[in-house]
Symmetry: C2
Subunit: 331 residues, 2 copies
C-alpha cells in the first residue's frame, strides 16, 4: 500500500450511482422539473455547447461548492464539531485538568448546551485541541476511523451517507460537461479530504478549506508535518474568494452554497465577465431534512437570501425542487 | 473574452515542441544517455507499468517542481526580482520620496549592488511595493505585459524563453505517463501563473508559491481582491512541504529542485512509502548557462548537495547530462 490513506477501509462510494442514473434517464434525476433544474441545465448548455456565443474553454470551467449544508447536512450541529466532541471524550483521559475547565467540563458532563455557551471561542478551543498535537498522517487515520463508524444521532446513518443525492448528481453532471469541481468550505481541509474523494469524487488537491498551521520536522530521520494549535486560515465569508485565488488561481464560473458564509464566494463568481451561475440551497423541508434560514445559528441564511432574490440567483427550495434528499431517502 | 488573462496576447507556447519530439524519437531527446536519464526512465517505468510491483495509481502520481533554477534560469538575478526592479523605475514617478530612501535611492541611480546591500530586507521591500496596492486582475496584466516584452540582459531573449528544454521534455514525459505536475516555488504564485500554463503546460491551480495577503472588497458594486503589502506565506525550505500539504493534500512521489531551498520538499517526497524519486539540477555549465553551487547567493546548493550524494538522489550535471539547455540553444 502506498499511503495510510489507501490502506484504510473504503467508505461507501456514493457518487457513481448518480452517474449511472444520469446515463439512464437524462441529467439530475433526483431534481423535479422546476425552475431550479431548468436554470442549471440552461447555464451548462450555454457555456458548453459548441457554437454557443457563451462557450467557455474547458480549462476555465471551474465550479466551487461549499460543503456543510450544501453537499451534506449540518444539523443538529456541524458534523466536524460532532467529530471534535467525540474526540474530546477520547482525549479526556490524558487531560484530567479538563474536569474543571470550560468548555470541556460541561461537555464531559454531557451538557452540550453549557459547553457551547461560550460561543465561537468555545468551539475554537474544542476544535483546536482535537485537531492539533499529531502529525497529518495520524490525524488522517483518526478522522477516517471516525467517518467510517460514527453515526448521526437522529438518522443512525453514517455521517458520510448524509450527503444530498441531488447534489451528487449535480457534481457528476458538471464533471460530465468538462467542469473541474472544487470544495471551498469553512470546514477543515484535512478533515474533508478524508472522505471527499470517495463520497463526492473530489480529489484532495481540489479541496479548499480552513486550516491550522503546520510545522515540518525530521523525527527519527523521517520527515513529518505536525499539526499546530494555531489557526492558519478561516475559509469563510470574505475568506472564500481569497482562498479561491490562492488555491485555484482562476475565478469560478459557477458557485454553490447555502448560507451567509457563502455570499462573497457567490459574488466573486458572479462578478466575472460572461455567463456566470450562483445557486443557494435553501433548507425548507422539516419533514425530510431540516427547515432553517434567517434565525439559525448553524448555516444562517439571511443576507445572502436577500442578495440572491435581488440579483436573481437560483435558490433551491429543497421541499419542492428535490425528489430525494439523501441516497437512503429522508430523515 | 472571459477573463483578463484570456484577453492578453499569447506567450510563445514552448512545451508542445518537446511533446512532439517525444513521439518521434523516444522520451527526453535533449538528455544524453547518462545515469540521470536512466534513473528517470527507470523510476517512471517502475511506478507506471501494468503488473509492476511498484505500480502507483494514476491519481497518486504527483510530481512537484521548483521553478527558479529548476525550470527556468535564475542568473544574474532571480527573474521576478528583475521584474520588480523594472517596476520600481516605473513607479518612481509616483514616489518622489524614494529619491532619499534606500533601497530605492541606490536603485534609481542605477546602483543595483548598493540597493541589494540591504540583503533580504531590501529585496522584501522592493518586492512588496511592486506586488501590492493593486487588484489581482491589475497585477496579472502588469506581469503579463512584462513577461511578454522584457529581455534578459545577457541573452537578449524573453525571460519566458529561458526555460530548460530538457525539463520541458521531462514535464511532458511525466504527464504522458499519467503524472499531475505541480510547481512548488519560492517565487510569487500570481507572478508564475501568468506564464506557467503557456510555457510549462501547468495550469494556475497546479502552481504553488509564495504569496502576499489578499483582501476581498466590493468596489463600485463589483467584487475585487486587493493585493496587500503583507507576506502571507514564504514557500521556501521547510515551507515547501507545508504548502504541498495545504495545496495538494497528497505527498509527491517525485520531486525536482536545484537548491537548498528545495531540500525539505525532496525529503518530504522521499519520506513516503514505496518507490520515490528526488532530483537536483546542478548548474555546472559556465559556457552554455552558468556554473554555481555552494557559494552562490542565488540558488545556493550546498547542504542539499551533500544530502543528495549521501542518499543517492539523482543529481543532474547540466554540462554532461543535457544536450541542449534552452529551446533557442545556449547563453
Amino acid at each position: 500500500m502506498l499511503s495510510a490513506f489507501a490502506a484504510l477501509p473504503a467508505l461507501p462510494v456514493l457518487f457513481p450511482a448518480s452517474a449511472l442514473a444520469d446515463i439512464a434517464g437524462g441529467p439530475l434525476p433526483s431534481w423535479n422539473d422546476t425552475a431550479s433544474k431548468k436554470a442549471i441545465t440552461t447555464f451548462v448548455e450555454r457555456v458548453t455547447k459548441q457554437g454557443s456565443p457563451d462557450l467557455v474553454p474547458e480549462a476555465e470551467r471551474i465550479a466551487t461548492f461549499d460543503n456543510d449544508g450544501t453537499l451534506w447536512a449540518e444539523q443538529p450541529i456541524y458534523f466536524q464539531l460532532a467529530f471534535a466532541l467525540d474526540r474530546v471524550k477520547v482525549l479526556a483521559e490524558q487531560h484530567p485538568e479538563w474536569k474543571d475547565k470550560e468548555p470541556f467540563a460541561s461537555l464531559l458532563k454531557g451538557d452540550l448546551k453549557g459547553a457551547l455557551a461560550g460561543g465561537e471561542a468555545a468551539i475554537f478551543q474544542i476544535v483546536t485541541v482535537t485537531h492539533s498535537g499529531m502529525t497529518t498522517v495520524e490525524f488522517e487515520k483518526i478522522a477516517h476511523d471516525w467517518i467510517t463508524t460514527a453515526k448521526h444521532p437522529q438518522t443512525r446513518k453514517l455521517y458520510a451517507e448524509m450527503v444530498y443525492q441531488p447534489m451528487l448528481e449535480l457534481l457528476a453532471y458538471l464533471r460530465g460537461n468538462g467542469f473541474k469541481t472544487f470544495i471551498v468550505s469553512g470546514g477543515g481541509i484535512d478533515f474533508m479530504r478524508v472522505f471527499a474523494n470517495r463520497v463526492y469524487g473530489i480529489p484532495p488537491e481540489q479541496v479548499v478549506g480552513s486550516s491550522g498551521k503546520l510545522d515540518f520536522e525530521m523525527r527519527d530521520g523521517k520527515p513529518i508535518l505536525m499539526k499546530l494549535p494555531e489557526l492558519n486560515f478561516n475559509d469563510d465569508k470574505a475568506g472564500k474568494p481569497v482562498q479561491i485565488q490562492m488555491h485555484i488561481g482562476r475565478r469560478p464560473i459557477a458557485s454553490f452554497g447555502n448560507s451567509d458564509g457563502d455570499l462573497q464566494m457567490l459574488e466573486w463568481a458572479k462578478g466575472g465577465g460572461g455567463v456566470r451561475f450562483a445557486l443557494l440551497v435553501h433548507h425548507t423541508d422539516a419533514a425530510r431534512e431540516w427547515a432553517y434560514d434567517r434565525n439559525s445559528s448553524i448555516g444562517r441564511l439571511d443576507k445572502a437570501l436577500d442578495v440572491a432574490q435581488a440579483e436573481g440567483w437560483t435558490v433551491v427550495d429543497m421541499k419542492n425542487d428535490w425528489k430525494t434528499i439523501f441516497p437512503f431517502g429522508s430523515k
